[in-house]
């Protein structure tokens, strides 16, 4: 039980996928303009990532094994694409506005490097099935956390008196940098 807890804490705070592994920056910058959207994007990514890490573990262990290890990346990408396709249809049916708002970023979960990165890290760190699930969930929660925090800050920034040269993407980058610095403070949280 303790292991799972540490995996969660470790992936959410200490080794945050965005802040310390610098994965998944594309949706981090792209979908953080509005708080509601970012929460939805976080939820969609969490769903995809947890599912993807579980399924890719199963595929890697039972289907590929050592013999077909060279198919790992390829098959993971296919699996992720399939899950994203499913999620897309689901959201389109249940929340058309969200579908429209997420726009290009929804299919882009497929190419979200975090979503491929986590299953690959799972393999590299030799996690078992449940550990893989927790690793995926934790990574996704960490991603959602920073995305939502960042979106909240950007919403306030929108109303702020930012000097003209820093408006838009530049102030967002500076904010992201400061956030990353702040997350470094979590290093050493777990011995």
């Amino acid at each position: 039980m303790e292991t799972y807890f540490f995996i969660l804490i470790g992936t959410v705070f200490v080794n945050n996928i965005v802040m310390s592994k610098i994965l998944g920056l594309c949706p981090f910058m792209g979908v953080s303009r509005k708080l509601e959207t970012s929460i939805a994007m976080g939820a969609a990514t969490t769903f995809v990532l947890t599912l993807a890490s579980g399924i890719s573990y199963l595929i890697d262990t039972y289907l590929l094994g050592e013999a077909l290890a060279y198919l790992r990346t390829l098959s993971f990408i296919v699996v992720i694409a399939g899950i994203v396709g499913f999620t897309e249809m689901f959201i389109k049916k249940n929340s058309p506005v969200l579908f429209r708002v997420l726009g290009i970023y929804l299919p882009l979960i497929t190419t979200n490097c975090a979503v491929l990165g986590i299953p690959l890290l799972n393999v590299a760190e030799r996690h078992d099935f449940v550990e893989s699930l927790f690793f995926g969930l934790g990574g996704a929660l960490g991603f959602t956390l920073v995305l939502v925090l960042f979106a909240a800050m950007r919403e306030r920034l929108e109303a702020a008196d930012v000097p003209a040269p820093f408006r838009g993407a530049s102030i967002a980058m500076i904010t992201a940098g400061l956030m990353s610095l702040a997350f470094m403070g979590f290093a050493g949280l777990i011995k």
Binding site: I59, L68, L71, S75, V78, V79, M89, K93, G103
Partner: protein, 182 residues
Amino acid sequence: MLEAILVMAGIALVLGGVLGWAAIRYRVEEDPLVEKIDAILPQTQCGQCGFPGCKPYAEAIAKGEADINQCPPGGEDGVRRLAELLGVEPKPLGEGLEPKPRAIAVIDENLCIGCTLCIQACPVDAIMGAAKQMHTIIADQCTGCELCLPPCPVDCIHMEVVKEDVASWKWRYPVHMMKRVA
């Protein structure tokens, strides 16, 4: 080699099956987005966007066939709200689509010959009258679309800008005083 092909084909088959099922299960009948866009449009039904009314324009936006900056009565504010809804960058209004101050049509009742052409043109039934009877405009219902101007054979309709009065007056944005630098 055969093994690899079989594995990949298997994965593809399973995923294809799931996606096919989902496509049927989660089929979208109609796009409720149109309603949301239509709610933002000002409903003048003026056709300045190039579509015959607000709803068709909303449908075109939802399909991605029309840009969001084609509605002058909605103004910059309308464009901004559309952009917010659709998650795109706001842009200035299109060429030759500058917003005008809000105005309503007024019929010069001395010149009106009662031809009913304007009544047919009015998209919101804001003109009262009957054949060979004087017509008049219900000011509260007029959207200022100007569609009644061209059909009038005696040019007795003109637009009057709505003036601000004590009841419709708005508090201004406060003046931000700057510090004088020597």
